[in-house]
Symmetry: C2
Subunit: 379 residues, 2 copies
């Protein structure tokens, strides 16, 4: 009997009460019951996005919301600045290319970030740029980009700031209205503790202005059309109703804990994880500010990170994640977002000690756990 | 205590065993477990689509698959013939318009169909048409279009035949390879007895040829890119994993019943429903071949069909559906697809008798049920 643990940076574990709520008989999406559910969820999502704007749900993975952000705010030939410091930064570029949008990359080595000043300079060199596309938490490298600082330098330009918050919403503080973010998007399967299948977009008035000028084709992801339905507490097309039912439960959990506490919890678990990893002599992949959502770790010299991953799985029945793209084989990633508590971190680190030993790496058993325990004991 | 019944033409009831399977802890989509699940589902989907081609899953509602069909097979300025005889026929047109594809409508009054010969003539008048876009079952009118006949007249042309089988897959016989259908698409929440959130596309070699020539922009719905992942038993982006888990269970149920029996069951339930409705003196909306998925009924003179719908709901806790677009107020729709048996039809008709009486319409109690019972007694 080996208990199963999902410790990847998304999808993340869904609380059992939420799983059971979603196992109730399916709700129809054109009924007063669904309208009431939608209204409740609509209100909760605004608080979670820290915005007065409506949050528009889409039945898709997070990538659908990335595409919606591009094809609703831009036109063929427009220029977009892309913070390219990881696989999801590269995804922005791929989407822009698919739609004939010119990309000005702002590059940093994977594991690093692009400082807000560099974004500001790039905007001055490209005064006609229509959008700045960034991740808040770059899930492939475990770096948290300085969205607040980037918003400050973008505000005075003609570009809108589009923030992929897929792995930061409900994990790291992200103040859409206060910081002046123009478009924030997220998915259901990370901090929201739900199965994958729902994505979300919230737009500032400035972003809606861009939407009115956009000439890229769209239908399923047409945010203008979808917005009209949201104001009537429904979705344009048949939504993933069961995930909506779960969302209501999750929003109640987050509300009960309180957003500041949710952010503090993630920061604390992330710090404990990093502390444990470093105590085992391993190197963190993130050289810039680490994300509270996940910890990317460089595999010890001579060990393929894919072996770390598969040993976690085969020996301990724990799913973590490997490196993506050029980081494959070099990096493994531990998720600590969503329905995660102190002893999940302890488990992840205890397993890491076992995995390293199994792979022939010298381990002083307990050192990783001890370091984490000290962080967790802080009050 | 009023038991709840979902009797709308989608979403449809999900079998309790499937709901519980989906309530299991979330599976990660880059694991050997998921690969094994995907492979099983992949094989089952081919049998369900009656094709040797791979079926490509998309995390979206059925409309996402309609859009994928258009933006993957056509180019700006292309001409597409659209069978426009209901709301979903109109949806084809809206998607084409959004992408700059010229639509040649082939119209029939709602409740009617367009004969295959008319499609053939239209193709001869538009020899450069690249696609014929049709529904198999038009959920808004309850008509089953003659997809087999249309395939026969399309085959010799340069156009591919694209079939929206959202409300017919696993309900009405649809032989993709044998009939020569080029692109068949479906969703999870109808005959597949799952929550909404997954859609599917299967393409013939001829359709893949069109895909190679297509110049419309796409990213999330890029079927060429997605196909590469399918051959490796995975999805390109994080899929709706919990619905995949349910899909495995549903495919087992369909397999155990046997597809021919599944089709016969739906045909029989539909016939019983129509018989009951007519015995109550009501008129069927479908004047052409009725769909086995649902029965659209004209509300009696002087009664708004929205009142029928709301009385079903408030008096009996049963969700049915009303008329869409121009049919609103005139038509109500009873679904009998997916996880539906004899006594669901009896319940729907017994409730209809009560509802009509409550709305002041003269009813000979038991007449609707009696007529249905006779059909159900046939062996």
């Amino acid at each position: 009997m080996k208990k199963y643990y999902l410790m990847a940076p998304g999808p993340t574990p869904v609380p059992p009460t939420v799983l059971l709520a979603m196992a109730q008989p399916v709700l129809h999406h054109r009924t007063p019951e669904y309208e009431a559910l939608f209204l409740e969820v609509r209100t909760g999502l605004k608080r979670l996005f820290q915005t007065g704007q409506d949050v528009i749900p889409l039945t898709s993975s997070g990538t659908g919301a990335l595409e919606a952000a591009v094809c609703n705010t831009l036109s063929p030939g427009d220029t977009a600045l892309v913070l390219r410091a990881g696989k999801f930064g590269e995804r922005w570029e791929e989407i822009c290319r698919a739609y004939g949008v010119t990309v000005v990359p702002m590059d940093a080595a994977f594991g690093q970030t692009v400082p807000a000043e560099v974004v500001g300079e790039t905007l001055r060199r490209h005064p006609h740029a229509k959008a700045v596309l960034v991740q808040h938490s770059e899930s492939s490298t475990g770096v948290l980009h300085d969205v607040k600082g980037i918003a400050a330098v973008t505000r005075g330009s003609g570009a809108i700031l589009v923030v992929d918050a897929v792995s930061s919403l409900g994990i790291a503080d992200l103040r859409m209205d206060e910081w002046g973010l123009d478009l924030v998007l997220a998915g259901s399967q990370k901090g929201l503790m739900l199965p994958p299948g729902l994505a979300f977009c919230a737009l500032s008035d400035r972003a809606w202005g861009h939407v009115r000028a956009s000439r890229l084709p769209k239908y399923y992801f047409d945010l203008t059309a979808e917005r009209k339905f949201v104001t009537r507490n429904e979705c344009r097309f048949t939504p993933a109703v069961s995930i909506f039912v779960g969302l209501r439960e999750v929003l109640k959990l987050l509300e009960a804990e309180g957003l500041p506490n949710v952010f503090r919890r993630h920061e604390r678990l992330a710090r404990a994880t990093r502390s444990g990893v470093e105590a085992l002599g391993l190197e963190l992949f993130a050289k810039a500010q680490p994300s509270p959502a996940l910890t990317a770790v460089v595999a010890p010299r001579g060990i393929d990170s894919e072996a770390v991953l598969s040993t976690y799985s085969t020996s301990h029945n724990i799913t973590i994640a490997g490196g993506q793209g050029e980081m494959k084989g070099r990096v493994f990633r531990l998720g600590h977002m969503g329905h995660v508590g102190d002893f999940d971190v302890v488990t992840a680190l205890a397993a890491l000690e076992q995995v390293l030993a199994e792979l022939g790496h010298p381990v002083d058993f307990g050192e990783g756990v001890r370091a984490a325990q000290k962080v967790l004991a802080e009050r």
